[in-house]
């Protein structure tokens, strides 16, 4: 059953929008760590992750706005859509319950983004290739950061192992959604524009399982698990609405203020 919020009209736009929303929402989650990190070094690291991801979001959403062709800006897309028009993966929306969960998510997602970007560098859409190339450098660092912290927490103390494991255990259920592939995504992939998400599952699983084995963390078998609902139909976890209420407040409360005057 399709949703009233499905938009299959412009798959190219939808695909790029999804790349942008992932970066935006995950970047927002990292920005929430600012001044709350376990130490100053990690405050700085969290800022870096947030800066990289929100910077990527700006690039993807600017390009998405062009593909949409309605004269919108990246800010319009970031600040003036409600949940049902967001296309981020559910994993990115989950709240930062502790540094363990944030680390687990970053490992899962940076490996995912890395593999996506690594392939998108060869996209037949030059703009996608160009943004992916820039972003790949950043994500290479994110993946290393997440891997190192997975090791530290997995092998540090009993408590850190337990908390990291709990972070992963909270998040496994969002893994199958990462590899859902719509018909239109497959078509875009066939044209060489996009990456079909299902095509990167094996590599993702291999990379993650190797890291977790070394970090003494148990991996769940999520392969083939059914995904109920779809981000392409505007379905999200309840957390996204709360993120947007806060994130979009000023743009919503002062609609006549123009972007440039903020």
């Amino acid at each position: 059953m399709t949703s009233i919020y499905t938009n299959g009209d412009n798959p190219h736009f939808q695909y790029v929008l999804g790349l942008g929303d992932d970066a935006l929402i995950l970047g927002h989650r990292w920005s929430e760590w600012l001044s709350k990190g376990p130490n100053l070094e990690l405050d700085i690291a969290a800022s870096n992750l947030a800066l990289d991801l929100i910077g990527q979001a700006d690039l993807w959403l600017s390009y998405a706005a062009e593909l949409q062709g309605e004269g919108k800006s990246s800010d319009d897309l970031a600040y003036l859509r409600d949940t049902h028009d967001f296309r981020c993966h559910w994993l990115t929306e989950q709240p930062n319950t502790d540094w363990g969960l944030s680390t687990a998510r970053m490992l899962m997602f940076s490996v995912y983004q890395y593999i996506r970007y690594e392939r998108l560098v060869n996209s037949s859409d030059e703009r996608i290739a160009e943004i992916a190339k820039k972003a790949l450098k950043e994500v290479t660092y994110h993946r290393r950061f997440a891997t190192e912290w997975t090791m530290r927490l997995g092998l540090g103390t009993d408590e850190s192992n337990r908390r990291l494991q709990k972070g992963f255990d909270t998040l496994w259920r969002f893994v199958p959604e990462l590899f859902e592939t719509t018909a239109w995504e497959q078509e875009l992939a066939d044209k060489g524009i996009a990456v079909a998400s299902k095509d990167i599952e094996a590599e993702w699983t291999e990379v993650i399982s190797a890291i977790l084995a070394e970090a003494d963390i148990t991996m769940a078998d999520t392969a083939g698990k059914r995904v109920i609902g779809s981000r392409h139909d505007g379905h999200h976890t309840e957390h996204l609405g709360h993120i947007l209420a806060e994130m979009q407040f000023l743009q919503r409360a002062y609609p006549t203020a123009q972007g440039a005057t903020w």
Binding site: L34, P38, L51, A78, G156, T157, E159, M247, A257, W262
Partner: protein, 309 residues
């Protein structure tokens, strides 16, 4: 006595004192207090701005704000490191902050109430900080002088960015202009108090001047800041408080008496946000304890492993 004379002579010759050099206990203590207070201010200062990170109105502004807060964490780091050269650990300094034994700039005990505050903090608070700090780039203690040079450079950048953000808002709607005026009205006076009590009430000053830890008096620096800021406020198109008047004779702006009772009240914990700031610091410290322990345990295991190998 002889060491003391030689020490003073070095300072008088504008030489830098370096960590391994002999120095009087009073010099060391004063520096530790001043540098750690400065470091704490950077750290606590992350919170009022952090209050707006999740609500920044555009992607560009969000990026700028995150980068600014990141720089403040960085400044905190340099300054703690610089203070460590005087033989005190960062852990001990952080402990003093959390125990309420150490101070930080009391302007951070005021809340950030609207988005213009983010720009105004850059313009006024970083602006006042720079006015205070530029002379410290020539401070007699080498590590502090070098840290200040780097900090000042970044803070000048923040100050310009903050001012530029307000310039943009002043081109916007009436509501945006009002936010800027409101932010200025609230933050200007506490910014003036960042220079510390009037010279008439200020202890230690002459010794610190002699040691070149302090190079200008509180009132001198305050006047310098007012003289630089009021024309900027006028250029923004802000309404200037009535008590501020150009004095043709002195070539300075007169600004009347500041409300020092308020200053001391806020220092003592009576600001709107004192408790919020300390609660936020304490939460971060407590919630992060297990992470720091894990990192330490992991590093220890790695060391043991590489030793065994």
């Amino acid at each position: 006595e002889e060491g003391m004379a030689e020490f003073q002579a070095r300072i008088d010759r504008d030489e830098f004192i370096e960590p391994k050099d002999w120095m009087p206990e009073g010099y060391r203590k004063t520096l530790i207090r001043q540098m750690s207070q400065h470091a704490h201010s950077e750290i606590v200062g992350m919170h009022p701005e952090g209050n707006w990170v999740t609500r920044a109105p555009t992607l560009k502004r969000k990026l700028i704000l995150i980068a600014k807060i990141q720089d403040e964490a960085g400044h905190g780091l340099y300054l703690y490191s610089a203070a460590e050269t005087l033989g005190v650990s960062r852990e001990e300094l952080v402990r003093q902050l959390h125990a309420g034994e150490a101070k930080y700039s009391t302007i951070f005990n005021y809340p950030t109430m609207n988005w213009a505050d983010v720009g105004a903090v850059g313009w006024l608070v970083d602006g006042a900080a720079i006015t205070n700090q530029i002379p410290l780039c020539r401070c007699s203690y080498g590590p502090y002088a070098r840290a200040m040079t780097r900090v000042c450079k970044e803070e000048s950048f923040h100050q310009r960015q903050g001012y530029e953000a307000l310039l943009e808002m002043m081109k916007g709607t009436d509501e945006q202009k009002k936010m800027v005026q409101d932010a200025f009205d609230r933050l200007f006076w506490p910014a003036l108090m960042m220079f510390g009590p009037p010279d008439s009430d200020s202890a230690h000053s002459s010794q610190n001047m002699a040691w070149k830890i302090k190079r200008f008096s509180n009132d001198e620096l305050r006047q310098r800041f007012v003289d630089a800021t009021i024309p900027q406020a006028e250029f923004l198109g802000l309404k200037i408080p009535e008590q501020i008047k150009w004095n043709e004779e002195t070539g300075h702006y007169d600004f009347g008496e500041l409300d020092w009772d308020e200053f001391w009240d806020v220092v003592k914990g009576n600001g709107i946000s004192n408790d919020d700031r300390m609660n936020a610091r304490n939460e971060a410290l407590e919630d992060g304890a297990w992470v720091r322990e894990a990192a330490a345990a992991y590093a220890e295991k790695q060391r043991a492993k590489s030793k065994a190998a």
